[in-house]
């Protein structure tokens, strides 16, 4: 009896769906995602609301997997040699270990240090100068940059359209096999904005979990950090997303003017984004041009190397006083911000 009822209802509903004028518009029809495999995005306890909320780009397993395939695909570059992952290595928290500036096709060099990728949903702007205001608009830069991937968007679409696997994946992710720039960028945003790093030893310490023990030296380092560094590198994200002139002398070979390039405001000359310090021990070298290879070098800069630009940030203008022991203790604390769970998370690794 129940079966009959279900049959009547099912047949009836299928009938209704097929009535003219009652169909959903196929151009906006989305396939029902397979929720059993869905990737999840959750806000760690005590963290602020993210800036990117996947509004207009609902996170699905198929969208995430498409983004991951694109991220690891060298076909996004002119000569099929460079993928996003070439400069964004998972083991380095998606920075480029040991490389001061970005490397593109034909061994061309960029001008800036490859930023890490994690907790990107909380960022309010992208790149060292903050020129990009939405994570969906970020990938077009390295793709079109002549010293990185050197492609045009139509060329990328042509390459991807020749691959039936991609057609099938775009169909799964967006409900049709149309490949356009918007879908490419939304898929990449799903992959990148899903990367959350909140499992360092520091995090476990904050949450009072097992494995969250800090040594006396690390605890002293944390206390010094909160005294001397936290105004810019604010917990829990370890950045306040601001732009500051942190007193770096100009590298005349790069001659990078920083944020003024975006705002045309003289007050922004030589200002760069304050980066997160999470995973900092995994992602050397440091600063916007990768000039420092060690954390000791970075702290020594803040202690004794501040160049007196007219607009140098008041928080570092007079240097940050610390003894040699303080410096070692701060560094020992910074090493507790490494999240090996994140850097080994198979969801973010190259697809098999």
């Amino acid at each position: 009896m129940r079966k009959l009822l279900i049959l009547v209802l099912t047949v009836g509903l299928i009938g209704i769906m097929s009535l003219p004028g009652c169909k959903p518009d196929p151009s906006v029809e989305l396939k029902v995602p397979d929720t059993s495999r869905n990737i999840s995005f959750s806000i760690p306890a005590g963290w602020p609301q993210p800036n990117y909320t996947f509004s207009g780009n609902p996170l699905t397993q198929s969208g995430f997997e498409l983004g991951r395939k694109l991220f690891y695909d060298t076909r996004l570059s002119r000569d099929n040699t460079i993928s996003c992952a070439s400069c964004h290595q998972q083991f380095a928290a998606f920075a480029h270990l040991d490389h001061p500036v970005s490397h593109g096709i034909n061994n061309l060099l960029g001008r800036r240090n490859t930023p890490v990728i994690f907790n990107a949903a909380w960022l309010t702007s992208f790149f060292w100068d903050g020129g990009v205001n939405n994570i969906e608009n970020q990938p077009i830069n390295p793709i079109q940059n002549p010293v990185e991937m050197d492609m045009t968007i139509p060329e990328v679409i042509t390459k991807l359209s020749a691959d039936n696997t991609y057609k099938s994946m775009f169909n799964s992710a967006f409900g049709s096999d149309t490949i356009n720039s918007q879908r490419i960028f939304k898929a990449l945003a799903q992959f990148m904005a899903s990367m959350v790093s909140d499992n360092s030893r520091y995090d476990k310490y904050i949450r009072g979990e097992s494995g969250g023990t800090l040594t006396q030296q690390e605890l002293h380092g944390l206390s010094l950090f909160r005294e001397k560094c936290t105004a810019c590198h604010t917990e829990p994200l370890f950045t306040d997303n601001s732009f500051r002139n942190n007193g770096l002398a100009l590298d005349p070979t790069l001659n990078d003017s920083g944020r003024i390039h975006i705002t045309n405001d003289p007050a922004d000359r030589y200002k760069f984004k304050v980066p997160s310090l999470r995973n900092i021990a995994l992602s050397e070298p440091y600063m916007h041009d990768g000039r420092f290879t060690t954390l000791d070098g970075v702290l020594e800069h803040y202690r004794s190397g501040i160049y007196q630009w007219p607009n140098v940030d008041t928080l570092v203008k007079n240097g940050i006083s610390m003894s040699d022991q303080d410096k070692d203790d701060i560094i020992s604390f910074l090493k507790t911000l490494s999240d090996e769970t994140f850097t080994h998370d198979a969801r973010f690794s190259e697809p098999k």
Partner: protein, 254 residues
């Protein structure tokens, strides 16, 4: 028992049927059904049509120049009428390109049947679409009207040549959507005569852009000193205040 269940299932079906077709408009008389308006853009230099093929023109300052590219965004189109009628186009983003005739006119649809005597629109793209991530259609970055390094749309782009300009080229890429140097301009123009929209009457409105207005007033442009604009800043305002006067309505009617 059996018959009760079947009755219930039939009732559920009827309810589903009724609710699934709510969007279907009720039949009404022809004169009150919504209609369309066709907007047509004519890009001129003075009295003649803009010719992208090495035609020489002279600006207000007396500088000779040619135009090889002339594109602009028209967005957020609104029609209002003398009797309170109002129409706001949905997904109202259009890229007008002088080198592509198909982009120089478009139909606005689902306009309530009424009389309209004023059109307003933006030259450029509103803040929201400059900050909400990847877009498509007229706003697809592959249209070449998007700055990737400094996210946002180029609202208006004019390129060409002038012997007055150092290097011989002029290029004005007007972008930026924030603050005093925004490249967006809100335009509101009365139609020369009211138009009446019905299901069967599709009025045409002709918007004529005079390229000379770009370089004329309130800021007379001298190509020897102002010939290149490819970023945000004070110079954007200089040109945008001029192209606020770009359009006149040269026709409105059937």
């Amino acid at each position: 028992m059996k018959s009760t269940l079947i009755k219930i299932s039939c009732l559920v079906l009827m309810m589903a049927l009724a609710s699934s077709c709510k969007k279907k408009p009720l039949p009404v008389s022809g004169s009150t059904l919504p209609g369309k308006v066709k907007l047509e853009f004519f890009n001129n230099v003075g009295a003649s049509s803009l010719n992208l093929n090495n035609q020489w023109y002279i600006n207000e300052n007396g500088d000779s120049f040619t135009v090889s590219k002339f594109n602009y965004y028209i967005s957020n189109v609104v029609l209002t009428g003398p009797n309170g009628a109002s129409y706001t186009e949905t997904e109202s983003y259009h890229l007008v390109q002088q080198n592509d005739e198909s982009t120089r006119s478009f139909d606005m649809i689902d306009i309530p049947a009424a009389s309209y005597d004023t059109i307003s629109f933006m030259i450029g793209v509103d803040r929201l679409r400059n900050t909400s991530g990847a877009q498509t259609g007229a706003l697809d970055p592959l249209n070449g009207m998007f700055w990737d390094w400094n996210t946002g749309y180029i609202m208006l782009k004019l390129e060409g040549h002038s012997p007055k300009a150092p290097g011989g080229n002029i290029a004005f890429h007007c972008g930026g959507f924030d603050g005093r140097n925004t490249a967006v301009r809100n335009i509101k123009i009365a139609l020369p005569q009211a138009i009446t929209v019905t299901q069967n009457n599709t009025p045409h409105v002709h918007l004529t852009a005079d390229v000379l207005a770009m370089f004329k007033s309130p800021n007379k442009i001298d190509f020897s000193t102002f010939y290149l604009l490819t970023s945000t800043g004070d110079q954007v305002k200089v040109l945008a205040d001029n192209y606020a006067n770009l359009f006149t309505i040269t026709y409105a009617g059937l």
